[in-house]
Symmetry: C2
Subunit: 205 residues, 2 copies
């Protein structure tokens, strides 16, 4: 983490804030969000608490910004290459997602815990992230030979929950090889959509 | 809720405790777990705080007991009739689960939020419940023509997460008819397991 603090370099406030968030993320690697205090950040950044409050109004705002940053990173590393076909985008996206959860477990869990936290902003960050991941899939289902219906969106959301749960469990206990995990989760999506597609577009009785 | 308090009837402590938990559950219908205080319970039960502490050491223990009770109810109402075939057990179990989430939304959400709460006991209650639901499915996969492997268990767990997420979203926004939701979720399970079954039993490379 030492390489992140260059206290003698004069930086504009935005860059400095970004640097502090990177430091926050790095500190989150070995502790939970609750354990990530303004005091600790100040100490590790080598600056005063007073100066920190110039960048973050309080611990809550700092936490939200760190989780937002973790989420942006997760979305960035899982962004599919648009030149690939839909199925390859799905498997490479899944592989990148698994790598992210494995290497950034605590930041990722902060995001997941935010989903059911009392903090409305953390819930929104989670929902935005889920929405972005599901949106990518939804945008490519035409390519997979499927139609977008309310039922399709419901199922893609459900599949996303399945992926999240499964990857978290796998990181804690990797009972099957990684490539097998990718294959199972990738195969599950078209399987779910296809097996249910026949009646999905019919009006519900 | 008035029918739950019969202060003049002499009851043994266990029965009285059960009654208080039922009252707690009823109060949870219109508020979150955080809003369910010992004060409120005492007031609604028409007994003193002091007497309440005879049954629950503190608010935390009361909350855990209420969530445990909600969970037991959920597992009870979703218990499958063993005389039915596996697929019928699956769809009737799902229908009962949807009914439960709909009619006991806040108690159910207390359970779900417990999964990622800092309270280890609430997490355990959640994990026990998930384990029980997944165990029922796992026990019947032979009947569905499938084999139990580590991959199968991983996928059933993932499917359970899919069901939870989907039903919560559906209760908030019922975009498709209920019977269609049951059909989609029931069809998703064998679809996921079958589409991935071919290589699942092969040793991972």
């Amino acid at each position: 983490m030492g390489e992140m603090s260059h206290p003698r370099v004069r930086l504009d406030p935005d860059t400095r804030r970004e640097q502090l968030l990177d430091l926050g993320l790095a500190l989150l690697a070995t502790r939970t969000l609750e354990e990530l205090s303004i005091d600790l950040l100040a100490e590790e950044a080598g600056i005063s608490r007073g100066l920190l409050y110039h960048y973050f109004r309080n611990k809550q705002e700092f936490h939200r910004a760190v989780v937002r940053r973790a989420t942006d990173q997760m979305l960035a590393v899982t962004t599919p290459d648009p030149t690939l076909d839909a199925l390859t985008r799905l498997t490479t996206g899944l592989a990148a997602y698994i790598d992210y959860v494995e290497t950034s477990y605590e930041p990722f869990m902060s995001l997941v815990r935010g989903a059911s936290s009392g903090d409305r902003f953390l819930r929104e960050i989670y929902e935005d992230a889920r929405g972005a991941l599901v949106g990518r899939i939804f945008d490519s289902i035409g390519e997979l030979g499927l139609t977008g219906t309310p039922a399709t969106r419901i199922l893609i959301n459900g599949w996303a929950a399945m992926v999240e749960e499964t990857v978290i469990a796998w990181v804690q206990e990797p009972e099957i090889p990684r490539h097998e995990l990718v294959r199972l989760l990738a195969a599950a999506l078209p399987a779910v959509l296809a097996a249910t597609a026949d009646e999905v577009t019919a009006p519900g009785g």
